[in-house]
Amino acid sequence: MGAARILEITSIDDVVSTEKGTIGVGSSLEPADVIRLTTEHNFHHVVQKDGISFDTEMAVARTMSTNLNAFLDHPLQTILGLSDVDAGHLPSLVIKAAVDERKSNTIEQFDNYLKGLSGVRPIIDEAMMIADELYTNGAKLGFDPARLSKGAKLVRPGTVEFFARTDGLRLVLGVRDSYGLLKFEQVLSRIANCFANGMAGSIKQGEGGAGIGSFMVFNACVSYYAGVERGKRSVVCVALPVGISRREGNALPKNIHLASD
């Protein structure tokens, strides 16, 4: 693949549709507009100049556009912009589990991991919620009906790998599943629907979390990353700000990165 095209976004209303993989660069774009850029204008990356770690985020966009496997193999290092040596020095957590193992085992280990970090107090609730949603979304793919509920039957054995690492500025957490069934259009339309109609309006009976989980995850993070190798694996990660208050973190504009084979 060649170098990714970069487009400066000055106003959402002036944007025209782009070719797949284009990196949009803007400032102070609203979360709903970030999603609109992906759903209506085909952007797969939106990076904000006044967002968190702009240079690293641009590097992530380039890597995901040109070398998807680098992201799928090493999402934490790709997102945090780390060498193997640097990565080894940072506190990290990796838990691989079969999809029918208890979610609480992983969530409890993540809770303990967070307790050992500094600067994460304001984001602990959000991080725990995101871990729960990402893990549930990955694991439910093995079940019929496709949700983790009492009595759901395991029909597609597989694995969910949960991971987290912080560089002191960002906490990155994510999940890799062994299915590769993630559909960006579906996830993005659910998030867009929540922005348009509210969460309650988006809830439909009998559809698990009814897609509001994806909205909750996007709403809580400062950067959202998703990559898919179809039929083989999906990786979904987010970044949360470390060392600043919740109020400051909530004011940061959001980035998004999507890539598939």
Partner: protein, 168 residues
């Protein structure tokens, strides 16, 4: 994660329900005969978290009950307050919030604490306006007494968003 539990205490026409644990896909809310109780008081102090499936389960449980009984929600943790503001109907129309937690954070000592705001005392809401009557300095909420003098605890929420539910 902790298993969801509900503790019921009938008090005449009032039913007190104390919830604890995680509200998720495994939650089983207690069946309540709303015709027996004029008011249902929910104590949510020990609710640890709520996920997207839990939100749907909550709505399915509370909607029909709230058509017959008045709800009073007390000791609401921030995970629940977030839902008040984000999910229409999470806080039913015939309900009031008597108290809820507000997070405070000090960047200097990386400490967070939650303070219980009683509606009408630490915070007042009337005619679509919210007035905070809480002095963080005077309250000296920092747990680290050795560093309390230099601690700069601040309310760690965007007030316009976090207190939105009080304006309805």
């Amino acid at each position: 994660m902790s298993e969801f539990k509900a503790h019921e205490t009938p008090e005449g026409e009032k039913l007190r329900l104390a919830f604890e644990g995680t509200i998720d896909e495994d939650v089983v809310f207690p069946p309540v005969d709303a015709s027996k109780f004029k008011t249902i008081v929910l104590d949510l102090k020990n609710v640890k978290s709520i996920n997207s499936v839990g939100i749907r389960e909550w709505l399915n449980w509370i909607r029909p009950l709230a058509e017959k009984s008045d709800f009073v929600l007390e000791n609401c943790p921030k995970a629940v307050v977030f839902q008040f503001n984000m999910v229409e109907g999470f806080l039913p129309a015939r309900s009031t919030v008597s108290s809820f937690y507000v997070p405070f954070y000090c960047e200097k000592c990386d400490k967070e604490d939650s303070v219980l705001f009683n509606v009408g005392k630490e915070i007042k809401a009337a005619a679509g306006k919210v007035e905070i009557a809480f002095d963080v300095k005077a309250a000296a909420i920092c747990e680290d007494k050795a560093n309390a003098a230099s601690c700069e605890m601040e309310m760690d929420v965007t007030e316009a968003k976090y207190f939105q539910f009080l304006k309805r």
